[in-house]
Subunit: 234 residues, 2 copies
DNA sequence: AGTATGCAACTTGTCGACATAAATCCAGCG
DNA sequence: CGCTGGATTTATGTCGACAAGTTGCATACT
């Protein structure tokens, strides 16, 4: 609303339009700037980005195929809801992906992968040190995505980043509704995971990944439990 | 080429265009009617389907986001290649998904799921009985997709169907280059899996799924090993 | 007064056309 | 004879406009 997120309609390079819109919308959806369920108007976006509806539509098709927006035929397209009821499927899948990608990273990583992973971990530690919840959320995703990339399995990588993105929305929901109590132990857990990967200790990488996932799952579950509990004195 | 796969340009319902093109192209890609690496021309498709380029493009964007086609900026878009070099990542992922989805089906299935699974299994058995390799490939996919659906985890389901589709292309490659020697033991393995799921025996479901996956993986590996081996007498 | 019906405004789906970036071809030069 | 450079050609990316479907409101009818 205020401080219009205007993008100056300066001339873009041919073909950059769709990617621009896609990245922008994706980021706003994951940051909950576009809240779940809110309608996405094509002409509005068209004039906001200073382009025609065609590239907007292509970006929306991409977002729809990734499940970030839902498009009702001949009606509006909406930002997808966060399915709070089926969170257990999310927990199950992300725990498995944490384990599998970390194991594979321990097996297949090369030296340059460790550099990338450590760089992301540095950014993550900085975000935690500054108590910047938003930066922590996105750098945490980058950290684990880097590990998944070192595992060199595009199938796992694709599912994992999708899960991490969904997790970004959920975590964002968490940190905006509660005071930011940032868990520093994540930093140490990350360090341990890096060490296990570097040592190619697959069993230990698996154990750490599972513990890390359990940690995160429990924290989110605590949130939702606390959220729905009514404090009735008896 | 011959027997033109023309679709009469009769008037379609508004909004059905994209889905039509998407389903058609997807099927042709998976059946290798459109071989990997072949270019996909927009105007050609446009006149073939009797519609404008716009819906064609949207279908291509969807296919691209699923990895079935690759679109080079400002250049042509090609049918994705089958990455023979990195087949092990495919084997690894599909084995895990076989196991996970079958386990979850044993846990969460309802009675109507078993009906759907048995229906697909019947079609699969019929295809094997008729020695119809193509029908076997697609019914096999439907069978395992039904199991995955019974597991009720959309994340796993999404990855699994993607893997099964990639597998469809690989198998198709197999059965068109070799004589069709259809393994009947798959039918029995499927039956055993259904029994384990119905009995909610998670451990047995896991074991069977792993064995089934190993079976398929070994068969494909045998193919590629035989394909590259040169028969040099010493 | 409440409900059904028709009109109007808006949004999406599709179209044909234009602008632009690669690929190709041809000519000129070394 | 081969290489470089520009014009041509082809296909993509984008645009503005039209058509069809949907929503909401106003009006009329029971």
């Amino acid at each position: 609303m205020n401080a219009k997120t205007s993008s100056l309609p300066a001339e873009r390079k041919r073909g950059s339009g769709v990617k621009l819109v896609y990245d922008m919308l994706r980021d706003e959806i994951l940051k909950l700037t576009l809240p779940p369920g809110s309608p996405v108007d094509e002409v509005q976006l068209a004039e906001r980005f200073g382009m025609s509806r065609t590239p907007i539509r292509e970006a929306l098709v991409r977002l729809a195929s990734e499940g970030l927006v839902e498009t009702l035929p001949n009606r509006s397209t909406l930002v997808s809801n966060i399915d709070v009821l089926n969170l257990h499927t999310f927990f199950d899948a992300i725990t498995l992906m944490y384990r599998v990608t970390t194991r594979l990273a321990a097996q297949h990583h090369r030296s340059e992968d460790l550099v990338a992973i450590r760089a992301q971990q540095a950014k993550f530690a900085a975000a935690v040190a500054m108590q910047d919840a938003l930066a922590m959320i996105s750098t945490n995703r980058q950290f684990h995505a880097a590990i998944a990339e070192a595992g060199r399995n595009p199938y796992y990588y694709g599912l994992f980043v999708r899960l991490l993105d969904d997790g970004r929305r959920i975590l964002r929901l968490y940190y905006q509704s509660f005071d930011d109590r940032l868990p520093e132990e994540y930093v140490h857990e990350h360090e341990d995971m890096i060490a296990a990967i570097a040592a190619r200790d697959i069993a230990r990488a698996d154990t750490l990944a599972r513990a890390h996932a359990d940690q995160i799952v429990r924290q989110i579950q605590r949130l939702f439990a606390a959220d729905t509990r009514q404090d009735i004195p008896l």
